[in-house]
């Protein structure tokens, strides 16, 4: 290399090329709401990622402090709006534990049925949006087709399609409508006959496999250190399902498998949810055989006061461990309510996970973590 050329080369090096900063969101088709990702890109490769949240923050926990315990229940619907009943349950459970209220058996069984039906609806939404994130739009419509059936069943019992507000402190507001159990079992059969379609469309699709396998791998130790829960954690090979780990309602008496996969990649996270559909169907089928007759709510005084103390609930929502921590000072209002939203904890891993991947993988990885911004921002 002669002198001139060497100078030129040095000059190019001195130019100091830098990454391109790209703003993904808050309005972007694949951020599942209003998440904002500030990506620093080198070509198509992500060098750094900074998630910005809080675009839906409405101070729910602050609002809870201003209300009597039970008045907060309707607000919990709008946390993880894809699975409202899990939020209702987590909130009611925290109050029940704080105030020492028992729940009748029949109510517990119906709660289990509601949880699982809502879990199916939520996982179907995940399958659909995840397909869309990867460009397979049709999956969304297939999943919504079945989801619509699940919503009809939930509407039959709760009267709402999305924000149910059906679980009360100490039980449920009303019993199941007539023949509701038959409808649920028929839906179970329908869903089982349709999951094969999902597999043909996505799970077994070679393009889908190549897009997801080995992408965004979370090793088990990392998954634990980041505090991930739900299918996101179980896909990394950690067996932690609150339904088994700290059983609530009647889950201790039900026979089901905790779906645990080893790979920890995007595909495993997808597959974990896809396989949980079948486990939910399995649980639903057991519920109605064993449901006892009896009351559906225990007596709770008009003014609900809890003794001073700290209590927390743990519920396995479709996204992971949902936990309400309540602090009481003996007054009718809680002193502090904190919501441990699974999406919030799961999202912490994203920034480190996407580095070194392509832009397209960011979308796939984010989709596979399955967040709901309503509960991230609270």
């Amino acid at each position: 290399m002669n002198g001139d050329l060497r100078d030129l080369h040095q000059e190019i090096l001195d130019l100091g090329t830098q990454g391109m900063v790209m703003n993904m969101g808050p309005q972007h088709p694949s951020t599942h709401g209003v998440l904002r990702l500030i990506l620093t890109l080198d070509g198509e490769e992500v060098m750094a990622c900074e998630p910005v949240i809080g675009y839906l923050h409405r101070g729910l926990e602050k609002m809870a402090e201003r209300r009597p315990y039970r008045h907060f229940l309707p607000f919990t619907d709008r946390l993880d709006y894809v699975c409202s009943l899990a939020n209702n349950l987590a909130c009611a459970q925290a109050i029940e534990r704080l105030a020492g209220i028992e729940v009748p058996d029949r109510a517990q069984w119906i709660r289990v049925a509601l949880m699982e039906l809502n879990r199916i609806a939520s996982h179907l939404l995940f399958l659909g949006t995840f397909g869309t994130d990867l460009g397979a739009t049709t999956m969304l419509l297939y999943a919504f087709r079945e989801r619509e059936e699940a919503l009809a069943l939930l509407e039959a019992i709760t009267g709402a399609r999305l924000t149910y507000n059906w679980i009360r402190v100490g039980g449920l507001p009303d019993d199941m409508p007539e023949n509701w159990d038959k409808g649920v079992l028929a839906f179970c059969d329908l869903l089982e006959s349709r999951v094969g379609e999902y597999d043909r469309l996505l799970t077994d699709n070679p393009i889908f496999r190549r897009r997801t396998e080995g992408v965004g791998v979370i090793p088990a130790e990392d998954a634990i250190a980041y505090g991930l829960t739900g299918p996101t954690l179980r896909a990394s090979g950690v067996e932690y399902d609150v339904r088994r780990w700290a059983p609530y309602e009647k889950y201790a008496e039900i026979d089901f498998d905790v779906v645990v996969l080893r790979d920890g990649d995007t595909f495993a996270r997808y597959l974990a949810r896809r396989l949980e559909l079948e486990q939910s169907v399995r649980i639903l089928r057991q519920v109605f055989d064993r449901m006892p007759e009896g009351p559906i709510a225990s007596k709770v005084g008009k003014v609900l006061k809890a003794p001073p103390g700290i209590a927390f609930s743990q519920v396995e929502s479709p996204r992971g461990e949902l936990s309400f921590t309540m602090v009481s000072d003996g007054s009718p209002n809680p002193q502090r309510v904190h919501i441990r939203a699974p999406s919030f904890a799961n999202l912490t891993v994203l920034a480190d996970l996407v580095v070194g991947n392509k832009v397209a993988d960011v979308v796939a990885i984010l989709g596979s973590i399955d967040i709901v911004l309503g509960e991230v921002d609270r």
Partner: protein, 165 residues
């Protein structure tokens, strides 16, 4: 596992770091003073007796007289968990950061800072997380005074939106 045994295990792991240890089912309630907080959390994480390596939750609450940090750590294989409470100095809330031990607590600490103004010493990136960056005050402190929200749009904006072409 018997509660007494569980309590012993935790007391053994913590040594003299804890002020009080109570077992209740599979939950162990631990109270720690601020100077021992980090050491106690580290002991809970690393000691084979407790093995609480799963960062389940971190929050705080303010009673108006006292502000308390609340950590929840779980041991997944052993099926027990610890609820660690640590009172803070309400006038100048500070706490050591454990974001290096558990990256999962990074955002939880930011949230506590955002809502209570607790300064986590050693946190890599302590900024507001949920509220807008220019928010004033820490809303979850009991002495916080709510104010009506002003115009959501800052800077020059068309005054008559209806006629905007």
């Amino acid at each position: 596992m018997a509660q007494a045994e569980l309590k012993e295990r935790f007391e053994g792991a913590l040594g003299g770091l804890a002020e009080a240890v109570e077992a209740e089912g599979s939950l162990v309630r631990v109270r720690v003073a601020l100077p021992n907080l980090r050491a106690a959390l580290l002991a809970l994480k690393t000691s084979p007796d407790t093995a609480c390596d799963f960062p389940a939750n971190l929050t705080a609450f303010d009673t108006g007289q006292e502000m308390t940090l609340l950590y929840r750590l779980a041991s997944i294989p052993n099926r027990w968990q610890a609820l660690v409470s640590c009172p803070l100095d309400r006038e100048d809330p500070k706490a050591p950061s454990v974001a290096d031990l558990w990256p999962g607590f990074n955002w939880f600490e930011r949230e506590v800072y955002d809502m209570f103004g607790v300064a986590f010493e050693g946190h890599p990136d302590l900024r507001r997380i949920l509220l807008p960056d220019d928010w004033e005050g820490f809303p979850f402190r009991k002495d916080y005074v709510s104010k009506p929200s002003g115009s959501p749009l800052k800077g020059p904006q068309p005054t008559d939106l209806g006629e905007q072409a």
